[in-house]
């Protein structure tokens, strides 16, 4: 279905705006009009238009250029055509500088304006096709709700399919926020247990005794508060999969109990004497280095080897930056829908910003950042302004302290490299930010072999 493009005509002169609107309507556009800059800004806030025709000279405080600048704040990619009665070089230059794509002098030839409108709409149509294409691409990179085109992740997808129907225990290792539960679900739902329950338990969330009864259930009266018999997660997961998140945090006693389940596939409820047999596949996850925990004597080595039958290491987001745009776009689409906001795109500038961020909190942090940006976004596309919270503030730097055992030279190298990265390789900007001249900066880059 061909959507009708909407145009806003802004002019204080009624005959002028209504006759242009009528002329454009004959061409099949939905045309709205505004009689002042203020009116136009208000209308632009309510929705984005494909084209804005704005008269340069308008009384009442806000002229055409100011109107254009305000509209651009809300819709940075808006197509704006500035109309003027007589061309003066100055105003034309101002209009172009402020980002008017076009500048027309009235009265203009019908052919000229028709070609201009067609050209803009053609670009808009192409952009929309691209958005549709991008959505298709996103689907292509999607494996059980996990989006990636990173080679390591694709290997993981492949591995998941191979091991999905086995009963072998899987250990997922990855920093927090890398999506370990999504991987666990993908394993479960790709295999022949897909129809059976998938039960997730966060081992860090509960105290030892509670976690024990949570996992294995308890008999009535086994402890204060155990007024009825309760089935544990292992029983609930019978036939399916249990996902034990943050396994590195469990107590030595529970490590023992778990080891027995893994060895004998059976256990006792807390306070019970009846042996309960279950067929459960265990997927464990941790964000700590379990091998190190074993070396430190904090984690049983026999349990570690039982858990570590199939090991999947999920790379942090900073090692799969190519996924950031496609992830960000898919979050925009989903979260905007959930929040009922009309945000449908993300600007190239903000993607660049996201690509430069280090994402210590990984995919979850990216998701939260997109959500936060959407909440405050006033246009149809997220812009750099919506992500200012990602840029470290000056106040935040007050807590900065010099790392131990660092030489002045190393520190200098770090500062220069970070600045060049921040200015995207712009030496002039970097030199200005560092307060040194360009030749000095070049000298240091050479000396420290700083990549740029």
């Amino acid at each position: 279905m061909k959507t009708r493009w909407e145009i806003l005509v802004v002019d204080d002169e009624e005959v002028m705006r209504e006759s242009l609107a009528a002329w454009l309507r004959e061409d099949g556009y939905d045309v709205n009009t505004a009689s002042s800059g203020r009116d136009a800004i208000e209308k632009a806030r309510q929705k984005d238009y494909a084209i804005y025709f704005i008269d340069l000279k308008m009384p009442g405080g806000i002229d055409g250029i100011e109107t254009m600048m305000e509209v651009r704040k809300v819709h940075p990619e808006a197509s704006i055509i500035i109309i003027t009665a007589y061309a003066t070089v100055d105003t034309a230059i101002t209009a172009m500088k402020e980002g008017a794509q076009e500048y027309i002098v009235k009265p203009c030839n019908p052919e000229e304006i028709s070609l201009l409108v067609n050209r803009i709409i053609k670009i808009k149509n192409l952009q929309r096709e691209n958005t549709i294409l991008r959505k298709k691409l996103t689907k292509q990179y999607c494996f059980h709700d996990i989006i990636s085109k990173n080679p390591k992740m694709l290997e993981i997808f492949q591995l998941i399919q191979e091991i999905a129907s086995l009963r072998s225990t899987v250990l997922l290792q990855g920093e927090s926020g890398t999506g370990k539960e999504l991987i666990a679900r993908a394993i479960h739902f790709s295999g022949d247990r897909a129809e059976q329950p998938f039960i997730g338990v966060s081992c860090a969330a509960l105290a030892e005794t509670l976690l024990e009864s949570e996992l294995f259930g308890h008999e009535k009266g086994s402890f204060t508060g155990a007024v009825t018999q309760k089935k544990g997660k292992f029983e609930m997961a019978d036939g399916g999969t249990i996902f034990l998140d943050e396994i590195g945090d469990i107590s030595p006693k529970l490590q023992m109990d778990l080891l027995r389940v893994l060895q004998e596939r059976c256990f006792y409820r807390v306070g019970g004497s009846e042996e309960i047999k279950v067929d459960v596949r265990i997927i464990a996850a941790t964000n700590v280095d379990l091998q190190q925990a074993v070396l430190d004597g904090k984690f049983r080595d026999d349990l570690f080897y039982r858990l570590n039958v199939i090991n999947i290491r999920i790379p942090p987001l900073r090692d799969r930056r190519e996924d950031i745009p496609v992830l960000a776009r898919s979050f925009v689409e989903r979260i905007a829908h959930e929040l009922g906001k009309e945000v449908s795109d993300i600007s190239e500038g903000s993607l660049k910003l996201l690509l430069d961020h280090n994402w210590p909190g990984n995919v979850r942090e990216l998701e939260n950042a997109v959500e936060r940006a959407i909440v405050t976004c006033r246009g149809r596309a997220l812009t750099e302004e919506d992500f200012t919270f990602l840029t470290p503030r000056v106040e935040a730097n007050r807590g900065w302290s010099v790392p131990a055992n660092v030489t002045l030279q190393e520190l200098e190298k770090e500062v220069i490299a970070a600045t060049i990265q921040r200015t995207h390789g712009n030496i002039k900007e970097a030199a200005a930010a560092l307060g040194i001249d360009r030749s000095t900066l070049y000298e240091r880059i050479k000396k420290f072999e700083i990549p740029r």
Partner: protein, 191 residues
């Protein structure tokens, strides 16, 4: 019963009016009436541009609209404009009641060429159908031969034909309904 009114603005060639009557009747199925000849639209004259404001003429027509008028098509010899454009061949209210066409730029003389009566009449028919088409809800048609395609110069007027394309015809049928069926019958009877 409603009629399609033809409203000459000042002196307009009789033969031109007759051919418009015929083509409107055949294409839209309404009976045609003439609104008693009015004076030249001097109130719409713009001194600086030395042209006539089509917007002002259309507004006047809306005021003067007879109660039994389904549509009114004004015809003028004067060169028309809207403030944004250097000229227009005609203007219509999309899905509205009134429309206007100007003969000024349909005449070969305007371009410094010898007069050509047949060419003028052919152009008049296309522009009359075009503007009336807008009042019946048709928008510009991508089919270059359809009278509903947009003409921004006289060459484009000459490129298009005087028969609505299948797409525009289907839309017209939907928008006019019974009277259109009547018109279609008339055309078939003439074949």
């Amino acid at each position: 019963m409603t009629f399609l009114y033809l409203a000459p603005q000042g002196a307009v060639d009789d033969e031109v009016l007759t051919i418009i009557e015929t083509c409107l009747w055949a294409n839209f199925g309404y009976e045609i009436r003439q609104l008693g000849s009015s004076a030249e639209p001097e109130y719409a004259f713009d001194l600086r541009r030395r042209q006539y404001s089509s917007t002002l003429i259309l507004r006047q027509l809306v005021v003067k609209c007879p109660p039994d008028a389904a549509r009114i098509l004004a015809v003028t010899e004067k060169d028309l404009f809207i403030p944004m454009l250097s000229f227009i061949f005609g203007q219509a209210q999309l899905n509205g009641t009134v429309a206007i066409i100007s003969l000024a730029r349909l005449r070969q003389e305007f371009y410094g060429l010898p007069s050509n009566r047949m060419l003028l009449l052919a152009r008049v028919v296309k522009e009359a159908l075009h503007e009336m088409g807008h009042t019946f809800g048709l928008i510009h048609c991508p089919e270059r031969t359809c009278p509903m395609s947009l003409s921004t110069n006289i060459h484009q007027v000459d490129t298009k034909g005087s028969e609505f394309c299948a797409g525009c015809r289907a839309l017209l049928r939907e928008n006019i309904g019974a009277t259109y069926e009547q018109a279609a019958n008339i055309m078939r009877a003439e074949d």
